[in-house]
Symmetry: D2
Subunit: 466 residues, 4 copies
């Protein structure tokens, strides 16, 4: 799928720094490397061991942190956040990190992921007098921690985390300690690196590379990492862990240069492309991919089949959210804002089109039609992942059940809808084979959710899921 028509939305990326001179600058570049995980909001809280100072706003990293602002955020520890969506009414109020001022010590929180029992927890907290100012899971965790005032902070955090069911990678910063926590299934990625005597924590390893940090290790499912002036410590809030990293991180979200559980994303995608060729090849002239996320799979497919890998679709890199939408008149005339077929590559060819996934099917339909208009003799769509038949409750904004085209249609029926000459998906077994392990959450392909869902399905649907 192409970026500006993303039908899948990651919620966030987090980045933390401990004990690095000018932590805000490092965080800036770290968040920049995670910008693909969210462009609609960004924030940062910095500690100089005395106090916490934060800035956040709607917009991308570049917009939120002009040089003049960045310079004011002095300190050696920090946490930062990029956010996909500010929808949900809260606007700026939902942008992270959240900064909580409290007599027992201020702290800041940000996270990536989604808590599935947030509604229940919120109701319970409200019954005991809590008021919420946002709809963010981070605010829930903050209140849970603060309720546990009789204990020390680590104990309070552990106690609070036990209540949370779902997917999360949390960063919590006090004036002198950085905590990083991952849910017990490890649904969302988070890794640690070293930088010049200090530490760096990031949603993806690409951000460690980007800032020149040395990768140390992934944070483990159910682990709490505590970093303070005495060094780095590990604790666990649950004995019941089972690694189930989100398959979509491999397939679509993460940057190709990131490694997830030790496996490079580009390599994984290329392997998926090769496996796809093994499973469902068809005679054709050229292989093309939908930029940018499907190009690795496409080159894998081409290599496996010996077909020529071509640049058949071009993405206009100057597109963006604020572009004016074409009028109906121009749209019908074929004005293209974001994706264009390379006519002289496509014309008179039998084309194998590789895409990473199909969500609602509208993009696929448009691309197939675009290629046919550009003169393709045949268009064979090959999807480098299994059909998505169920919504995600762990922080990926897929559509509701009704909108998931593969939940409503057979492959053949879908083929007809999108107008392809043939259509095939990677099998679930093929995905496992390509990744080389089965420690992934594949609930969206199989409906086998690794956690309780709490809200029953009917309820969830009201929320726009089922």
């Amino acid at each position: 799928m192409i970026l500006n028509e993303r039908e899948l939305h990651e919620e966030c990326g987090v980045f933390g720094v401990f004990n690095v001179h000018n932590a805000s600058e490092l965080t800036y570049y770290g968040l920049h490397a995670l910008q693909h995980r969210g462009q609609e909001g960004a924030g940062m809280v910095v500690s100089d061991e005395e106090r916490l100072l934060g800035i956040k706003n709607e917009g991308n990293v570049r917009f939120v942190f002009p040089e003049s602002v960045l310079k004011k955020l002095s300190g050696q520890h920090s946490i930062g956040h990029v956010r996909y969506s500010t929808t949900g009414g809260g606007g700026l109020l939902n942008v992270q990190p959240f900064l909580f001022r409290h007599g027992s010590g201020d702290f800041a929180l940000c996270h990536n992921g989604n808590i599935v029992n947030s509604r229940q927890l919120k109701t319970q907290l409200e019954r005991s007098g809590t008021i919420f100012q946002s709809s963010s899971d981070s605010e829930i965790l903050a209140h849970l921690i603060q309720k546990e005032t009789r204990r020390d902070r680590l104990e309070a955090i552990k106690e609070a985390l036990i209540y949370l069911e779902g997917a999360f990678a949390f960063l919590l910063l006090t004036k002198d300690t950085l905590y990083a926590m991952r849910d017990k299934h490890g649904l969302r990625p988070i890794s640690i690196g070293q930088f010049n005597g200090g530490y760096v924590v990031a949603s993806e390893t690409c951000a460690l590379d980007a800032v020149g940090a040395t990768f140390v290790r992934d944070i483990l499912p159910g682990e709490i990492v505590i970093i303070n002036k005495e060094g780095i410590h590990s604790s666990s809030y649950s004995p019941d862990v089972q690694e189930k990293i989100c398959a979509m991180e491999y397939i679509y979200f993460s940057r190709p240069d990131s490694d997830l559980s030790g496996i490079n994303v580009h390599r994984a995608r290329k392997a998926c492309g090769r496996q796809l060729a093994k499973e469902s090849h068809v005679e054709a002239d050229i292989v093309i991919g939908v930029p940018d996320s499907s190009l690795s799979a496409a080159s894998g497919y081409a290599e496996a089949t010996g077909l020529s890998y071509e640049l058949g679709l071009i993405k206009n890199k100057y597109s963006g959210r604020t572009f004016i939408e074409p009028s109906k008149e121009l749209r019908e005339k074929g004005v293209k804002m974001k994706l264009a077929p390379v006519r002289s590559v496509i014309a008179n060819q039998r084309v194998i089109l590789i895409d990473d996934s199909i969500v609602r099917g509208t993009t696929s339909m448009r691309i197939v039609s675009m290629l046919k208009e550009a003169g393709a003799k045949e268009v064979h769509v090959r999807i480098a992942s299994p059909p998505i038949i169920a919504p995600c409750f762990y922080g990926v904004d897929t559509s509701t059940m009704d909108e998931l085209i593969s939940a409503q249609h057979s492959v053949e029926s879908l083929r007809q809808l999108i107008g392809a000459d043939s259509l095939a998906f990677l099998s679930m077994e093929g995905l496992t084979e390509a990744l080389g392990h089965n420690k992934v959450c594949h609930a969206c392909f199989t409906k086998k959710y690794p956690t309780h869902l709490y809200d029953d399905l009917a309820e969830a649907n009201k929320d726009g899921k089922f």
Copy 2:
């Protein structure tokens, strides 16, 4: 080379519309498709057959034309412009189109290219009382046309064009006629398309495709195309024409989905990559390209050799001009803003790195060093064009003679400088072979300039060229 470290700069792109309902909207999308030719300024002048109304500003298309402004530009004819650079002191004053108010009829002008005898023409015009408000070649043409007041407009234009030596694609709009003109060597590309009964003119065919126009033909070297309510007419201002389209348009500037003189840019680049493999292959494990402009050549090279084509370098697509530069401290630690190696793809591999060209060498040096740090066993640099040994005077902002690394160093000496294990360039013959014709200007590779230069070389150097 990668975009944000471009060492070669195209000057401009032009787009014109005649007789299309809501011409400004079409021009907006057309300029958007040409945005890669210039991001620093944009402008548009629209005619409703009564009067010419224009808007221009520094910034990209999206910034310059907010919806509220675009809606005010009503009319059925228009010309628009994107500009690379506003350097030269004039700032906004040099952004095009220029709108000239005159009792004999207002007109607007914009162009892509560079006039080599502009200094001489300017001096002559000033001697007869002309005052210049910008340093743009368009203003020179306007004054030349206006001096010829005894003739009709077409005759005046022809007379004026005869004085111009150099590279240009001009668009001139009066309230009821659109003129498109190309220099007699056809150094800068410009093509015509049809749209819904009207006409569209664009620097590259990708812009015709983007707006849904049907390609008609390229404008010929030395041709003046006149479009008015009686249809489309052709005239010529010089009998002495010889096609010499800029080779760099194929190698670097144009979008891969454009066709230049009937040859697709992506295909041409891929052919260069294959030819390069034929000329200078070396044993290795993987082939990678520098994104984005070298990826076609890299995949051609990989196909020709049977090696695996890998995503070895990732460009951060959220980078941009306004990003804060890393401090020296962080730069030394390895902070990367724009380009990152994919460590797990590169480590322990013998890498063939394809780039489209080398100008100053600094980018190549940085990339080779980046790859070695990421664990590459060997890095073999292959350049999909010949060494650049001479500056361009036709609108490409290469560096001066002193800065062109290939003008100062042998290939072996350059190899040492950039730290590569081997280095090879495509031969001039190989380039011709790959393009399939020799109707290109290759002055920057051979010093054989197709026009007079007027300013002698010493003079040119003061101007920052030699």
Copy 3:
């Protein structure tokens, strides 16, 4: 004193609307009329009886509510706020109204004033697990109300208000009810008006006039006004009320066209000027006032003495916060940004200069020196209020004890410091005489605070007060 060198800062202004078609538009103009009470932040929450929707930002009313945003805030009830200062670290987080989402019903809150026991209340609330996200008194009231969950809302509000000591005018909006509350001393003004069948509440009557509402009455000290679809009701949270409206509202803050407790501000100021003439007249040629707030007093003084009232000082109305400060070099040469003497009016005259108050004395010093440089033979400073000898704890940001020049110096010593030929203040008795009543808080002139201060003076000083 002049606006852009204000040494006294009001904290806020509030404006509420109930049952008026397009409440947001009315609120916009109401806040605009209260803009003098705060230019650094503004916000609004609107109810359409279904849900509360809000917008707020740093900046003035014009900036915060562009037309596109205003249009989205549809509904018939609303509360809005303008805020002087966003200092205190919170930035946007401290801009009001606050919107609290709660299962028992969302509500929004904003206020003008200052709670003197906020520290104590905050500590108590934190001990029971409350977390604060801002340093605003509104958040304290929200938590106090929410703690009282066993009662209905009005009872909960009353219970909560009992804890608050200090000065406040609160507006609270639920989806179907507007509450307006005033502290038991009535330190901050707030009035009710009628508009087209609905109601309007505003910090000053000038805002009622500006929107075309009909003044009904002031809200009484200790009163809670409840407006809902059944009409307007009054309740009281404390039997112990005693009117003590802030004297500075008359002297400096309020707009001249507002009436406070039935007395017009311009008239009150003019009466102060007349009284001042009675108390301390000296022979002179002309009377001038410091624009804008001292002009009424100056004309009163002139009338009482028969002297000519002249425009001796001009304020540049295009000055503003974002103006570039003059370099030291230019400042020394006499560059004036905000206030200029009218040389030909001043030269060779014995000038009586009327100012409303002296806080730190620096502005007075500058103005006297400016007048002397402009040729004034004598400058007699007359202050239309008593010396400020104590800080305010009720929402006026005077300086600390150390900085209050009248707390540190006798009148004669102060006269020497500012370089005046004579100096006199209005007496406390004279102020009472001029206002015609003594129901004012004059703590800053007499140290007689109408409430407990809670934080002892030493503590207060750490906070920058004593």
Copy 4:
């Protein structure tokens, strides 16, 4: 009249600096002091003796020159401009100064005023091949100067000025010389000051005061002042001079702290008020003025009659061009954006309302009605200038003949229209008496234009004048 409903528009203000360290900074403050003469555009060109560098934009001084930009404009000489209106189609293209690049030496030009034979001059210049890029008189002067290439610059300037008929104050800057020129009737004001060894030239003396410069003298009608490193020189381009400074500069445009031909503006206005009382007093209770420009006259009137001078109308100083206009619904309900009556001052009073002038009458009508609604028993309108019965062709944007209410109606008929209980204007003799001299242009009161008009009246009307 009040600022935001101005019905008279000054066109511009100019400010020049010669030989002052950091001339751009001084120009910034100088233009700021002239901001009342134009808020829609501003610009500045600076010379460092090597080259001219300029910046200009739509918007006020604060917006056009952010600190970062101002710092780049280094040099010791400069000219700057504020502009009222960017209407006329040209937008930014008409903002001044204009910078002309020419082999014989670059120069910049800006002006205040209006050339009445510009149409004729433009046609003549176009016939000889000149192209215009703006509709500004400055561009005409530049071309006229440049046509005279056989002479030295001063001679060329003199020759060019002879062609110009109308009102102007021009500043022309070359890299090492500043020229200041005033039309032979001295219709527009311009004065010289000294600053720290260098020179300052400004449209009004208030700008000399604001920057701390010492007033030297006014530039004389028909004079050219040349300032270069050899000092200050005077020349004249016409023997036929006759001082006729625009009466409206006294009555309305200039800042009260400026002196025009040695007479202070505030004093002149106060004298007009006194004279008005002498001519047409009526029994009443209070005197009020329309802020800001009528306050001086109002206080003069009050003093002359012994009546109380009151603040009866308040201007909201936070209004501005970008404010959202009230909906019809709210307007009818009486929402007031800019001007509010002080109800408790007005109610039950017989009010004398002083205004400086009446152009179209709509503002007067609105104010009278506002005062009556606020309870005024009687409203007697007194205008501190004669009726405006003819349009201005010298740079004041009055309305056309049809719109000038005094050209269409008798005083009694006008009184009825605006709903006043009585109405009187200052007599022409009274104005002369009050100013103390008759060297003013009073064409708008008497139709006696001091220059040829060139365009006959019918023609002028098409242009929106007659």
